[in-house]
Amino acid sequence: MDWPFFTEVLVGGLLSGVMYSLVAIGFVLIYKTSGVLNFAQGAMLLFAALTFVSLTERGLPFWAALLLTLAAMVAIGATIERTVLRPLVNQPPITLFMATLGVSYVIEGAAQLLWGTQVHGLDLGIDDRPLEISGVLISIFDLFAAAVAGAMVAALTLFFRYTRIGLGFRAVADDQLAALAVGLSLDRIWTSVWTAAGVVALVAGLLWGARLGVQFSLSLVVLKALPVLVLGGFDSIAGAIVGGLIVGAVEKLAEVYIGPFFGGGIEGWIAYVAALGFLLIRPAGLFGAKLVERV
C-alpha cells in the first residue's frame, strides 16, 4: 500500500466534500423550516456567480459587485418565497418540489437573458497551486474553501442560537403549529430563510465558479449535494458537513482503488450507491430527525 498516495486521495476527497457541503447547506436551510426540497438551489448558485462576475467585468470593484450580488440574491430569495411558495402553502410536498423545479428553469433562463451565454473565468485571488506537506500535495484553494465553509457554519450557528429570528427559525423547524401558537410570524421566518439560502448560494457560487469557471453547468453541482443530503439528513447542517466529507472521501477512494476494476468513471454514481445503502439502514440520514407520526 502506497500510504502517502492514499493520504493524498483521502485528503483531496475530504476537501472536495467540503465543497459539496456548501451546496447542501442551502438545501438544509429551506427544508428544515418549510419541508421544501428546493431544487432551484443550483440555479440560484449559477445566478449569483454569473451576476458577480458580470458586474466585475463591467468594471465594478470586488466589494461593490459582492454587495450588489448579495442584494440581488436576497431579492430573489424573498421573491420566490413571496410569489411561489407562499401561495402554495399546505400543498403536498411533491407540488412544492415541482414548483422549485420550475423556478430553477426560470432562473437559469433569466440568468442567460440578463448576462448572456458566454463562459467566464472567476479569479478570487487564491492561488490554486499545490502545497506539499510531507510528500502529500494539498490544494491551497481547497483549504481556503474549507475555511470559508467552516466560517459560514459558525456564522449560521451563532445566528440561529443567539438572534431572535434565528431562535424563531428553530422554533418553526421544531413545530410549526406551536410556533404559530406563540405568535411567531411564519411568513417573516420563511422569507428570512430564503434570503439566507440566497446568501449561501452566493458563497457557494463564488467558490464553485472560481473552480469550474462561471458557466451554465454550474447549476449541475446540485447533483453533488443530493447524496450528501441523503447521508447527512435533509434537516441538519452538521449532517450536511459530515455527509459532504463522507461522500467526498468515498468518491475519490472508490474511483482510485475500485474504479479500475469497472473500467473507471465510477465516482459519478458510487456516492449514490453509498447513499442508497445508508438509506436502507438509516432512512433519516446520519443527523436527520426521525419522523414519528401518530396514526
Binding site: 433562463g109 448572456g116 499545490p130 473507471g264 468513471g265
Partner: protein, 445 residues
C-alpha cells in the same frame, strides 16, 4: 440579429416550442434553405452562438456581396434545440416541410445520430463537421451523412502524429507513456480502440481514464495521472470538463504544455474559465482562429458594417467556434455551387446538394480564392470518402489568444480506413443497406 434579441427569440421560442424568428424565414422557388437546429440557450449555448453565428454570418456575406449563389438567395431559420435530442428531432420534423432544404447542420452528436435514418428517407445531406459517427466517413454505406474535415479516428491519428513530431519522429514514440482523459459518454469512448491500435503500432503505452459526465470533479483521475507519470495527457473533453481538467492538472502539478486537447477541447470557452492554468495548453483544430483572414475581414466590413452581424459581442469574431461556423458555411455554400454547375443555377433538391458534397474539392488555390488561406487547409470529398481528407493544425493558448504552433498535419488515413470500413460494412449488413459502387456511380455521372 443582436445577441440579446436572438436570445430572447430563442428563449420564447423554447417556451412556445416554435422556431426562433430570423430575418429570412421560409423559402421561395429561387431560394436555397438551410434549416438550423441551433442552441442559443442552455448549457452549450456558448458554442452554439459562436458556431451558428459564424455560419449565418457567412450566408449573409454571400447574399449581401454576391446576391446569393449564382442568383439563388440563401435563406435559413433557426429552431432552438437547447442541445437536446428530442427537441432537435422535433425541429427536424417541423423544418423539413419547408421547400428547398439544402443540408442539415445540427452540430450535435446526439441529434445527428437520431437523424441518420430520417435524412436517408428524406434524401437530404446531414453535415457533422469535425464530429459524428466515424464510420459515416464511408459514403458507400452512409450516403447522406458527411463528417466533413475530421472524424474522431483521424483526430486521434493527428494528435499522435503531432506528439511524434514534438518528440522527433514516430520512432521516438517507442516506450513513451500516454494518458487519455476522456468524457464518460459514447463520444468520449469512441477513440478507445484507435489509441490502442496506434499504441501497438508505434510502441507506446496508453492509459485511458474516464471522467464521469459532466466532469466537474477530477481530483481522483488527476491523482492517478500524477502517480503513473505519463509523458503526455490527451484531453478528450466537452464543456465544463475541459477547464476543470486544466485547473486540476495545475493542482496536482502536471505541466500544462504536456496536455494536448482534442477538437472539442480547443475553444476559448475551454480555456478562459481555467485562467492561468490554461496558459501553454495546446489543442488540435481544423481551422485556425483569428480575424486576419480575408473572408473574415469581408464579413466584418460587409456584414457587421451593415449591422447584420450575428454576434452581439464583436470580440468573438474570429474565435474558434465562430471560425468553425464560417468554414462550415464555406463548405455548405461551395457544395451548393458545385451541384448547381451540374444541375442548373436554381434552388436544388437535398439529393442534388448531396451530390455537390460528394464532389466537394477545394484545393489550396480555391481556398485562397475564397479568402480562407490559412483559415483551413483543403478538402477532397468523394463518394467513398465523406470526410474529405481534412488536415489539422495545433494551437497554443497564450493566456489571451490561440497561436498556431504547427504546420498542417495529415492523419494516417490508410491505417484507419480498414477499421472504418469494417464498422460501416457491419452497419450496412445490420440495416440491410446495399453498399454503393463509387466507380459505377462516377461513370454514370
Amino acid at each position: 440579429m443582436s445577441l440579446p434579441t436572438a436570445l430572447k427569440s430563442a428563449f420564447f421560442a423554447a417556451l412556445l416550442g416554435t422556431a426562433a424568428l430570423t430575418p429570412l424565414a421560409g423559402a421561395q422557388a429561387d431560394e436555397q434553405y438551410f434549416p438550423l437546429q441551433s442552441y442559443r440557450v442552455g448549457p452549450y449555448a456558448a458554442g452554439g452562438t459562436g458556431f451558428f453565428g459564424g455560419f449565418i454570418d457567412y450566408l449573409n456575406l454571400v447574399n449581401t456581396r454576391d446576391g446569393g449563389v449564382n442568383g439563388v438567395k440563401l435563406t435559413w431559420d433557426e429552431c432552438e434545440t437547447q442541445y437536446e435530442v428530442e427537441r432537435g428531432v422535433e425541429c427536424y420534423k417541423r423544418q423539413k416541410s419547408k421547400p428547398g432544404v439544402a443540408a442539415w447542420n445540427p452540430l450535435s452528436v446526439g441529434i445527428a445520430y437520431a437523424m441518420i435514418d430520417d435524412v436517408g428517407r428524406d434524401k437530404a445531406p446531414l453535415i457533422t463537421v469535425n464530429h459524428g459517427r466515424t464510420d459515416s466517413t464511408d459514403g458507400r454505406v452512409f450516403k447522406y451523412v458527411f463528417p466533413l474535415l475530421l472524424n474522431p479516428y483521424s483526430e486521434t491519428s493527428g494528435i499522435v502524429n503531432y506528439i511524434a513530431a514534438k518528440e522527433g519522429g514516430l520512432e521516438k514514440l517507442k516506450g513513451k507513456k500516454l494518458a487519455v482523459l476522456h468524457h464518460g459518454s459514447p463520444y468520449g469512448k469512441e477513440t478507445i480502440p484507435v489509441y490502442q491500435l496506434l499504441a501497438e503500432k508505434y510502441g507506446f503505452s496508453v492509459e485511458q481514464i474516464e471522467v464521469p459526465h459532466p466532469g466537474n470533479e477530477q481530483q481522483s483521475q488527476w491523482l492517478s495521472i500524477r502517480r503513473s507519470k505519463p509523458d503526455y495527457v490527451v484531453l478528450r473533453g466537452w464543456g465544463v470538463m475541459n477547464p476543470v481538467a486544466l485547473k486540476t492538472a495545475q493542482k496536482v502539478g502536471f505541466p500544462v504544455d504536456h496536455i494536448i486537447g482534442n477538437v472539442w477541447s480547443n475553444s476559448e470557452e475551454d480555456v478562459i474559465p481555467a485562467g492561468e492554468a490554461a496558459k501553454g495548453y495546446t489543442a488540435i483544430t481544423t481551422q485556425a482562429s483569428g480575424a486576419e483572414y480575408p473572408v473574415l475581414q469581408e464579413i466584418v466590413k460587409t456584414v457587421y458594417g451593415a449591422n447584420k452581424g450575428n454576434l452581439d459581442d464583436k470580440k468573438r469574431i474570429g474565435s474558434v467556434y465562430h471560425n468553425l461556423g464560417i468554414v462550415n458555411g464555406i463548405l455548405n455554400v461551395e457544395a451548393v455551387r458545385i451541384a448547381q454547375a451540374k444541375f442548373g443555377k436554381r434552388a436544388l433538391t437535398g439529393d442534388e446538394v448531396r451530390w455537390g458534397f460528394e464532389h466537394l474539392k477545394l484545393d489550396a488555390a480555391r481556398v485562397e480564392a475564397l479568402g480562407a488561406k490559412g483559415l483551413f487547409h483543403s478538402i477532397n470529398v468523394s463518394v467513398a470518402n465523406h470526410e474529405g481528407e481534412g488536415r489539422v493544425t495545433f494551437q497554443q493558448w497564450d493566456g489571451g489568444k490561440w497561436k498556431v504552433v504547427s504546420d498542417w498535419i495529415a492523419p494516417d488515413w490508410a491505417l484507419l480506413r480498414p477499421i472504418i470500413e469494417k464498422s460501416s460494412l457491419a452497419y450496412a449488413a445490420e440495416h440491410g443497406i446495399t453498399v454503393r459502387d463509387p466507380a459505377a456511380e462516377e461513370a454514370s455521372n
